[in-house]
């Protein structure tokens, strides 16, 4: 790894200014993803600006019944908070489905949202990767694409998936992300934080250099959100990234879907809010057939990859099975 300097400001504004002054500087929070990438040579910063003293580690009640989660709250503390467990079960479950106990103790709320794809080509600087370098092509399309995207991909472009479990659950509960940037503070709906690859897959989010996530706000839980969960399908029973995951919230009244939120992980460059499926389900009977039809409508736009090293066409039935099973479980059946 290339040499870098280390700074540990005591004010958030100082941290933001430090990055604004140095295009090659990076924030250091939990470090679980950044250190990996430093060692691999995926990132080569000039300076690390440690934000652990400038981001809040508190979870505060908001007046509307929601919660404000400081960006420095460790993942394990967030998942363990009784308010989160009770009001936003999908959020707690998503965190617990990710990484390991050690990593959850280290990783921060803000950092979790900004972790980068686990695409094996992205993590191997000896192979071309359009996410690392726009001038290169995507190696995954003709390579090991088992973990890659089926939705929202650009023709011949990046098919990386976003790896965060937490982000998927936050998308399902319509969280708001508080950001402090060189030009001041602003709020970004979580669904707008992450990007599709489009013509610039090097950018995972809409954040600009120097933008620091300071908090994540959870709006007051709806009945559906209180009846939410996170289902992660992976190749190992634990300590593995998702093939497919789903954060699902469901409110059923008199056998009819009153409210539903479905966000998918492992299928796209960003956590994928399944708006087509949600619209198809609202007001419909809460049955397997309806669930299946709704997710099929969502997957109409899917473009799985057929690769000589194993594509991901299996994700179509896997998404269907995962979502149908999860909806069924929330409706009171066998998940």
């Amino acid at each position: 790894m290339k040499p870098f300097t280390y700074a540990r400001p005591s004010e958030a504004s100082e941290a933001v200014a430090a990055l604004a002054a140095d295009p090659d500087a990076r924030f250091l929070a939990g470090g679980t993803n950044l250190l990996d990438h430093l060692k691999l040579g995926v990132v080569e910063p000039s300076q690390l600006v440690d934000v652990n003293r400038v981001t809040s580690t508190a979870i505060e009640d908001l007046p509307d019944g929601g919660l404000r989660i400081g960006a420095g709250v460790p993942n394990s503390d967030l998942a363990a908070d009784p308010r989160v467990r009770e009001r936003y079960p999908a959020v707690a479950a998503a965190i617990l489905a990710g990484a390991s106990g050690q990593l959850r103790n280290m990783a921060s709320t803000g950092g979790n949202l900004l972790q980068r794809t686990r695409c094996v080509y992205f993590a191997d600087p000896t192979t071309p990767c359009t996410k690392r370098d726009l001038s290169q092509g995507c190696s995954a399309r003709e390579g090991w694409a088992r973990y890659h995207a089926i939705l929202g991909t650009a023709a011949d472009g990046c098919i990386a998936t976003h790896p965060s479990d937490l982000a998927v659950a936050l998308v399902a509960v319509d969280a708001q992300v508080q950001v402090l940037g060189p030009d001041g503070a602003r709020t970004i709906p979580i669904g707008e934080l992450h990007r599709l690859p489009g013509d610039d897959p090097t950018r995972d989010t809409v954040l600009a250099h120097g933008d620091l996530i300071t908090a994540v706000d959870l709006p007051a839980p709806t009945p559906a959100v209180r009846n939410s969960t996170y289902r992660k399908v992976r190749d190992r029973a634990s300590y593995a990234f998702a093939l497919v995951s789903a954060a699902v919230a469901l409110e059923v009244r008199d056998g009819t879907v009153a409210d539903v939120r479905i966000a998918l992980g492992g299928v796209a460059h960003k956590p994928w809010r399944a708006t087509v499926a949600e619209a198809a389900l609202r007001g419909r009977p809460a049955t397997d057939d309806e669930f299946r039809a709704a997710i099929a409508a969502e997957l109409d736009a899917a473009e799985p990859v057929r690769s000589p090293l194993g594509g991901n066409t299996f994700k179509l039935p896997l998404v269907t099975g995962t979502v149908v099973s999860t909806l069924r479980g929330l409706a009171g059946g066998t998940a």
Binding site: P3, G31, D36, S76, A80
Partner: protein, 170 residues
Amino acid sequence: MSTTIPLTITVDGEPRDLDVDPRTTLLDALRDRLGVTSTKKGCDHGQCGACTVLLDGRRVLACLTLAVAKDGADVVTANGLATDGELHPVTEAFLANDAYQCGYCTPGQICSAVGAIDEARQGMPSAVTSDLTGEVTLDRTEIAERMSGNLCRCAAYVNIVSAVEEASRA
């Protein structure tokens, strides 16, 4: 060449001063600079758990921790768990249950187990906790999930779970 930064960390109860390159991980600082080799390097990328230590009381991965960021921290390795010459109950349980074979992942497993038992006592749930708002009972399924961040290629898992189960009831 980056300049080195002085810092002090307490390792197994003893304050240690060192000067490190900002790039130096806590793991390399422990092993190469301080000669504390109880903590092992299995992957150096946060994917195996062999380097697990207790940092200010919580289990973390030393390989993904920059030493410079931990000035003033308290680090406990598997070799620092004993008190007054008595092995820690988790350490003792690993011995009694033959919860190791080659022994390389073992110090990390033991630090992780100490952390995991503590987390469960605080009521922190896991991915297999059926009622997220309920009490945590550290049964074999819970233990296996909570210990899954520590790979063991000899696959002593059955005995590791037994050891943690025994120690958690002590």
